[in-house]
């Protein structure tokens, strides 16, 4: 099977997953007792039946659940997430505005995690049992155990307030692609990436150690290849295979972490928007963000699958 066909198949397999996501999301918000309109009505005995019907029509909560679901789904499919209840503005605009911010943050967190984890993991594996390995493992353990919000506040305290090296507020007026943005991304990015970095590093180290014991490594050495080639060409790619698998699952962690980290750093992304939306009971916004993040996680897994296949030619044939 060619890589292209594999990718296509994987992409097709994403569809039922997304369908499931949409059902669950919609179900969570619409099958729980008390839809938005009935709550308005409960608050207000003065709302007439006609008004209630109008409101229901307006908020798309009239008719049987399946029809509402289909309506909602068909709107979502064309990028229409409905309107904010409070302001009446389109939710999609909000989501598209926030999404790049979260993607930028998530990507930075990723890059950070990978940039830290891979070299450290390699170093630790190659120097297994030595001081550097032990130290990096201790750091990794603490990295995994640090709560995001605590780390974020700590970083702000140390690097922004005491050392004055980084800003506390996000760059509201800089475009995301501006190089200066990196300075702003650093602290939140590090915060969001630390846990992932630590987990990745541990997996990187373990799989690297395992791979270093593989016969093909001996074989490569027996062919007189320099150790650098052995480690960085032969062992690294194999180790990355297991790292990629973990990386996909960690994406969900990063998405979840963005809620806390964006709030701590006032980052104008989907995470902080979600907190706001929940507080304000903006059902459509919460649903939109849930769907978008779920899609992001599914896509990340899809990408990981593809990357997995690119890294490891055996996968395509499974």
């Amino acid at each position: 099977m060619s890589l292209r066909r594999f990718v296509l198949r994987r992409a097709l397999a994403v569809i039922p997953v997304l369908f499931g996501v949409s059902v669950v999301t919609f179900g969570l918000f619409h099958l729980t007792p008390g839809d938005p309109v009935s709550q308005v009505v409960a608050l207000n005995p003065d709302v007439s039946a006609a008004e209630e019907a109008r409101l229901r029509e307006r908020w798309g909560v009239s008719g049987p659940v399946w029809r509402r679901y289909l309506e909602w789904l068909s709107n979502v499919l064309v990028g229409d997430f409905g309107r904010e209840i409070r302001t009446g503005r389109a939710v999609s605009g909000l989501v598209w505005r926030r999404l790049p911010e979260t993607i930028a943050l998530g990507l930075f967190g990723w890059v950070f995690a990978v940039a830290i984890a891979i070299p450290t993991g390699i170093y630790a594996a190659v120097n297994k049992g030595k001081l550097g390995d032990v130290a990096s493992r201790v750091l990794a353990l603490s990295g995994v155990s640090l709560p995001n919000f605590w780390l974020g506040l700590l970083l702000i305290l140390v690097f922004s307030l005491y050392l004055g090296l980084f800003p506390v507020l996000p760059p509201s007026r800089l475009p995301l692609y501006h190089p200066e943005t990196l300075r702003y991304l650093l602290l939140p990015g590090v915060t969001i990436g630390t846990a992932a970095a630590a987990s990745l590093m541990r997996v990187m180290r373990t799989s690297m150690v395992e791979e270093l014991n593989a016969e093909y490594v001996t074989a490569a050495r027996a062919r007189g290849l320099p150790e650098r080639t052995v480690v960085f060409k032969h062992v690294l790619r194999n180790s990355l295979v297991s790292v990629v698998t973990l990386a996909a699952t960690l994406t969900a962690g990063i998405v979840a972490g963005s809620v806390v980290v964006e709030s701590v750093f006032n980052w104008p992304g989907l995470g902080s928007e979600l907190v706001r939306a929940i507080n304000r009971r903006e059902v459509n916004v919460v649903m939109a963000i849930t769907v978008v993040t779920a899609v992001a996680v599914v896509l990340a897994n899809f990408l990981a699958d593809v990357l997995y296949a690119v890294l490891d030619p055996r996968i395509r044939y499974d």
Binding site: R9, L12, A13, P16, D318
Partner: protein
């Protein structure tokens, strides 16, 4: 190993038309799109196993031996067919009934370590079946465990050790003790000695033989090593791609007449004798995929003694070569795969300094460019070199057909070439699936060479075709 009583006793195990197909379909989506891939691991196997005898099953890896073993015991659910034990069809039993049956039918695994629970002691491992089947408890159980360990040549005080503390041979003894615990009638041994050293292998084989004598066990003994099979078996079945291609008492199977596959297997045994020279029959390739087994005789794609079609006057060797060319043309992506490799693909046409690599390659007949750009003669030569086809073929009609196919290949019309070859050269082996032909007492061979239509002496089919040459 045991006396052949020859009486028509009811066999302890009778397998009829056993088929085990797997679905290797990749998942939901494939199933949805109806892209089913049936792996025909075991495809219609019959045999009897009499009390106290050993049936050896031999074949290359991928021929379905292990699946057969597991299907017989119901560890894998067979797709079709029946396995009768004492007249009762095991395939019709419920899983609870089957579990109960396991007292009589036991399994010994190839890899003793991975089949032993690392967290149980030897005593625990051997005692487990006693617990499961409620055969013994308390002091009686401990006594029985000690007894079993001694029976397989382990010390009673080994009961407290864990599997990793044993050597490979000892682990296999443990596996045997576990199988013996329930006092079975039949033990299916799946490559029990393949992973063992020669000296230990001999110990285990002797042990199995002793146990058979002592407890009247019947074995289905699976191995890829003909030497072992020959040593332990009363009767032998040679398996290829899910089917038995030859069956018979051990002595007869290891004497001519052979199924060509048996012959090839025998010929490949490395003999511990420096001066011995083998037959030199060498099979090419590996066992084809059981997903889509070859038509006719499944062995025809590799068979060194392919029955030539009577249409042409060609040697068996040439026929083999033609079939190889045809098979490769069917699957090839590009013409280069059908020609001998060239010495050089360098732009200047001079051989890369690997001239010394292989003297035969020092001359590059095709020049620097791709094979299809080579001259007609050169290309023709390359193809013939790759497949060992004489130039010209001894039969002019055949030569004409081959030449036409080579021309098509040269124009990069591979599909067409394959069709031409398909139309011109079809061995009966490709068309007809051989049934088992009796060649002696209780000895059957599933090969067209033993078909009644085929006159073995004349080497020809009764329809008047010319004798086929032999591989020699």
């Amino acid at each position: 190993m045991s006396d052949d009583d020859g009486d028509a006793v009811e066999p302890v195990l009778r397998v009829e038309g056993l088929e085990t197909h797997y679905d290797s379909t990749e998942g939901f989506l494939d199933r949805l799109l109806g892209r089913s891939r049936r792996v025909r691991a075991v495809d219609g196997v019959d045999f009897d196993l009499r009390a106290g005898e050993t049936l050896g099953v031999v074949g290359e890896s991928g021929c379905g031996k292990t699946t057969l073993a597991r299907s017989v015991l119901g560890l894998v659910e067979p797709t079709a067919g029946s396995v009768y034990h004492r007249g009762e069809d095991l395939t019709a039993l419920s899983s609870a009934e089957l579990r109960d049956r396991r007292k009589d039918l036991q399994y010994v695994f190839q890899d003793p370590l991975s089949s032993l629970n690392p967290r149980l002691t030897a005593g625990g491992i051997v005692g487990e079946p006693l617990d499961v089947h409620g055969l013994a408890a308390g002091a009686e159980r401990d006594e029985r465990v000690r007894e079993l360990l001694e029976t397989v040549g382990l010390k009673p005080n080994h009961a407290a050790r864990y599997p990793h503390e044993f050597s490979g041979g000892q682990r296999q003894r443990l596996g045997i003790a576990r199988a013996l615990a329930v006092d079975p009638e039949v033990i299916v041994c799946d490559e029990p000695v393949s992973a063992l050293d020669a000296s230990v292998q001999a110990q285990i084989l002797n042990l199995l033989s002793d146990l058979q004598a002592e407890f009247g066990l019947a074995y289905v003994f699976i191995a890829h090593d003909l030497r072992v099979i020959e040593h332990v078996s009363d009767r032998v079945a040679v398996m290829y791609l899910g089917e038995f291609v030859e069956r018979g008492p051990t002595e007869t199977v290891f004497e001519p007449p052979y199924h060509p596959y048996t012959e090839a297997l025998l010929s490949a045994i490395p003999e511990p004798d420096p001066l011995w020279e083998g037959d030199g029959i060498r099979l090419t390739g590996t066992v084809p995929s059981p997903v889509d087994p070859p038509s006719g005789c499944r062995f025809h794609t590799r068979c060194p003694r392919l029955v030539p079609s009577a249409e042409y006057d060609l040697s068996g060797e040439t026929w083999r070569s033609l079939t190889d060319l045809k098979l490769r043309a069917r699957e090839a992506d590009g013409v280069t795969s059908l020609t001998a490799a060239r010495t050089s693909r360098e732009g200047d046409g001079s051989p890369v300094d690997g001239g010394a690599l292989d003297p035969a390659d020092a001359i590059d007949p095709a020049g620097p460019t791709g094979p299809t750009e080579a001259s007609r003669e050169t290309f023709d030569a390359l193809v013939r070199e790759e497949f060992g086809l004489p130039d010209p073929l001894s039969d002019p009609d055949a030569e004409a057909a081959v030449a036409e196919a080579i021309d098509a290949l040269r124009d990069d019309r591979i599909g067409e070439a394959a069709e031409l070859l398909d139309a011109a050269f079809v061995s009966p082996c490709e068309r007809r699936h051989p049934t088992e032909y009796d060649v002696g007492a209780d000895h059957g061979i599933a090969c067209l060479r033993y078909d009644g239509e085929f006159d073995e002496e004349a080497g020809t089919f009764a329809d008047g075709s010319e004798p086929a040459g032999s591989a020699e």
